[in-house]
Subunit: 337 residues, 2 copies
């Protein structure tokens, strides 16, 4: 069994984008109460978008289940206001639910939250609860920077975020820390903002004390943990200089890394540095990098190949990475698979 | 010969900090024209700060020369205005010059630039010219985010920055890309802002075309290139998806990485992924991480040990990393050492 914990619905029918464009265009309208509107997408359209992409790649690469969420770049929490974000998130999450209902063996849902810069994450509780209790979702994506590259909300360890953590703890669902598009021209989205978001969140977790307040809370830092594993010595040293306990004790009961690292040396480092119990298999296909690596002849994002090529960890450790750890981090997954 | 290309004057006499505090305190004064003021520090005070720290560590670790610049965290380009920044930079650079004059065999100067958010880098030309032509400095530190964590100036590839690049090209000096303190509570300075700054700059260089306009320009991305080497596959793939040439051709004539990575697996990855010609030895001692790694019994930032421990690169390659490359990247170094 191979479970990919990080897939986004990047191949949704174009009606979704049309809806979003219309929603954004209407932001300038004088109407006092924007309407939620509706999305007309047939099951066949959904099937067509997946069959030639995610499902084909699952078959070709030999992965079984993808934990699936709305397109990260599309979340765009900085656009409009909290009503904009609520309507958009509900539509996106409903669509994920339809995908998971059409292909219950292949996809399990994770939701986008209706975050808005400067608006308390308390605002997201209703949608998280709806997705988990009504749609059977098993986690959420939490954007540490709803402003889209301006980093205006407090760090993730601030009490500002506690309402959503309380609900996550109650529902027993984890969050993947995942930024969305960047509207700061300094940050290329997938090349800088994503990786910086990961690195930033990791360092926030070192400094803060949220796991004392929420000992059961679990976060996945995607894209191989940003820069954290490569600079593991720096982070161990910084924590030590601050008088913190070793990283393992400080946060490795609560923080996990995915394997979205698109070359062999990077995966080798990840597996060498981070305890196997903290690594979850993921590819983020069909995502940031779509090409074939001329050096290997395979897709950059075919991360299973890199893990298969590692000879110095045991079969049991690989099973942890491929599916055992993910079941622990997403306890609600057990219900289905 | 071992040349450390990345050292900051982190052990300056406390008079420097007192001066800065007074300068900042005076920012609220109603006087129309702030005065530069003077700094009273004796040669003996300078010697005392270095003898028990950088010089002691050079001897203990067996490194010969440190390319030395003002404390990066102290640059604080976001504080005050361009006059504040000019006065402060002149004092800091003069102090580096005194260090290099007292210990000409041990230190070579690199300057801080009097950057200010929203003010053209043209403003920095005079100080760069003074430091190189009058003080014998061989390079500069360029802050890609003078706002200190708000990232409000244009990307490094924007024509906004061209005046300083023109002067760098004329003087034949490189720049190390180095942010300063963070005043955004999301970013821990050395744990997030520094590494994010490196990653961000690297991605900007992939997207922009400045090396077509400045084929001789050279940049050092410190802290092992931020996240870039760990995510080298991602960056190769992103460049490929954008229709850019391979990274080697796109930027490796102009972009170099230092070895400030504080554990063995990180250095192993760096040396495995990045061509040896693009790696410059550095430790950033006495810097971000000051402790001893309990796993090795040695200082985290004793990076020479990690490189010494690599058995799979040749003696010639190590000589490139330890001193040959740095002479190419800093052509003015040759005059002295």
């Amino acid at each position: 069994m191979i479970i990919d914990c990080h897939g986004h619905y990047t191949t949704a029918p174009k009606e979704l984008e049309n809806f979003r464009n219309a929603q954004i265009a209407a932001l300038g309208d004088p109407q006092p109460q924007p309407t939620k509107g509706s999305l007309k997408i047939s099951d066949d359209q959904i099937r067509a978008g997946l069959e030639g992409a995610q499902l084909k790649l699952q078959r070709e690469r030999g992965t079984d289940v993808t934990i699936f969420s709305p397109r990260a770049m599309g979340m765009g929490h900085h656009i409009g206001n909290e009503t904009t974000s609520r309507h958009w998130s509900e539509h996106c999450n409903d669509l994920i639910h339809r995908v998971c209902s059409l292909y219950p063996d292949n996809f399990v849902g994770v939701c986008q939250l209706p975050q808005t810069p400067g608006v308390s994450p308390r605002n997201c509780i209703r949608e998280l609860e709806r997705c988990v209790r009504e749609l059977g979702f098993i986690g959420c994506n939490l954007n540490p920077d709803p402003s889209g590259g301006h980093w205006k909300d407090p760090p993730l360890t601030d009490r500002y975020w506690y309402p959503i953590y309380e609900k996550m703890a109650e529902l027993d669902v984890p969050a993947m820390i995942h930024v969305s598009a960047s509207c700061n021209p300094n940050f290329h989205a997938t090349g800088a903002h994503y990786i910086n978001g990961d690195t930033t969140a990791f360092m926030q977790f070192i400094m803060g004390d949220i796991f004392k307040d929420f000992p059961s809370l679990k976060f996945i830092i995607p894209h191989g943990g940003g820069a954290a594993p490569y600079h593991w010595g720096r982070y161990r040293g910084l924590a030590q200089d601050m008088g913190k306990p070793p990283l393992k004790e400080l946060l490795l009961n609560n923080v996990f890394f995915d394997t979205c690292v698109y070359h062999q040396p990077g995966i080798d480092l990840l597996l060498r540095v981070i305890p196997t119990d903290n690594i979850l298999f993921a590819s983020e296909m069909v995502g940031a990098v779509r090409g074939i690596d001329p050096e290997t002849g395979h897709y950059y994002d075919d991360t299973k190949r890199y893990i298969d090529a590692v000879t110095w960890i045991s079969k049991e450790d690989k099973e942890k990475i491929f599916h055992r750890n993910v079941r622990k981090v997403y306890p609600r997954l057990a219900v289905k698979h």
